[in-house]
Symmetry: C2
């Protein structure tokens, strides 16, 4: 940041210090930013700031202090609260600043949000993320983004500091969210399919480890099979991402397609499987616990320490 | 084969010179075997033998001349005809020889076949294959096998000559077929899910190339998405594996689970999608043509040469 010809680095803030947001804020700090943070749990924000950066008591105060505000909350309702709730950010962001929206939301809602912020002179990036908490912490997220050239001009160094890959999908807000929706459709169906296939094989008497070994080296493999069935082999359903996340995300996938009258037979079926799992009391377990909806399957037991 | 301490190489035959069987017979010839072959189309067998090996007019004559008979036909009915039809192999295979069954079949049927051959003193390997015609030709198939130690003792060098990976899943015939069934469940669901997701994204206005680029680098990826959606991008539905193959294979998956009263919600849904495609006249197109069941989607056009 010492080259006189470079523009000053933008002042950056992160709202929402959950597993993803905390990693992203840390990545920004590692990259040399003086990161402002806010979280509903003040002690989480204070903990972060102890090693550098500044904790703010409200979204509004944080918004007033930054050029780029990165929002990493759970869903559209929380994004709405960050911007338009009590002490919200929308009225405090200065004209020309950028709001970076990283949640998985309905693409139409995201596109409309761009307009609501434009009324206030605030720029917008539709920027859902993928990669999990470990990659968030190491600055190696994938971001699926779209938005105006002006928004990118200010936010680009911030995106690069948090990600190994930034997909720039066009000028229309909503494109990033559309790609994220497609990814969640596949991720959800693949987890449910992995569970269905693994349950069938184990029920038929194939040793679970052999099944995993063959499938992960065959045309039936998926990123999710390889990742999530390892949890099943270990008998470890500690939630990295919970069943109820896919109840929500596949619900969002279906909701986004319904106004277009677009049929999604596999997403609908997988959604019912996650609902079945949640209704059986498995909502807070790892999403691979959807395998437990299949009766009479001797799943691997956890290895004793 | 000149080392006096090595057992003599088994005499080997291949029945069924389709895309897979022809490649496998060639791999065996490349490995130094004097391969006997039979096909319902005599000219196909004669063509093969012109470059080495021997064409036989019937399954029975081929069976009488070999120690290991590799059967590479379309389904269980064809395996049955090879063995028990007119001029069939079952009564001509010498006691102690091995029948290697490479088709995708019901695991219970495969297990029963072992017993029918044992009555004649013939050994059996349940040995479905995976990998496609190109890998068959280069001796790089994956084989999912199970059977007795005696069967492996004779057939092992033959399996190794045809494959880059031979999974040995246990002594019980049927285990190989069970794993193959699980693989086909995943392969079929993943193709249909790739089609559903890609159709949704294109309908929503995401450029198809961008969607492919992002998904193949994200958690939503699968082996089948990466392989088959390349056909959709190219607008090329020349069948490498046809829609009707998955009408058959997912039907087999469902049939194999029904006697156990085991539910397969995603396999059942994907099967309906392939049936819908077949009923629409797409049965002989590449299996990626299942994407054409989604209406109102502007699929990429073939690139003109």
């Amino acid at each position: 940041m010492s080259d006189r010809n470079e523009p000053a680095a933008p002042r950056v803030g992160v709202v929402g210090l959950g597993a993803m947001g905390l990693g992203m804020a840390r990545s920004l700090r590692t990259a040399g930013y003086d990161v402002g943070v806010h979280d509903l749990r003040p002690e989480t924000a204070a903990d972060f700031a102890r090693d550098g950066g500044t904790a703010f008591a409200t979204c509004g105060e944080l918004a007033a202090a930054v050029d780029v505000l990165v929002s990493v909350v759970v869903n559209a309702a929380q994004v709405d609260a960050v911007l338009f709730g009590a002490d919200g950010a929308a009225d405090r962001l200065r004209p020309g600043s950028v709001f970076v929206m990283c949640s998985t939301v309905d693409p139409g809602w995201s596109a409309a949000l761009e307009g609501r912020l434009a009324d206030r002179g605030v720029l917008y990036l539709d920027a859902p993320i993928s990669g999990g908490a470990a990659r968030a912490a190491s600055g190696e997220l994938t971001m699926m983004t779209s938005g105006s050239a002006g928004a990118y001009a200010l936010a680009d160094p911030v995106l690069e500091a948090m990600s190994s890959t930034v997909y720039r999908l066009g000028e229309r807000a909503g494109l990033g969210s559309k790609v994220k929706i497609v990814n969640q459709l596949l991720a959800g169906v693949h987890i449910a399919a992995a569970a269905e296939a693994m349950a069938l094989g184990i029920k038929a008497g194939v040793p679970a480890e052999a099944l995993y070994e063959v499938i992960t080296h065959s045309a039936g493999n998926s990123w999710m099979f390889e990742n999530r069935m390892a949890h099943v082999l270990a008998g470890d359903y500690t939630p990295l991402s919970a069943v109820d996340i896919f109840v929500k995300d596949l619900g969002l996938v279906l909701d986004s397609a319904r106004p277009e009258r677009f049929p999604l037979p596999l997403a609908a079926t997988a959604h019912q499987m996650f609902l079945q799992a949640s209704a059986s009391g498995l909502g807070a377990e790892d999403d691979s616990a959807v395998i437990k909806i299949f009766p009479g399957v001797d799943l691997p037991e956890p290895v004793e320490a």
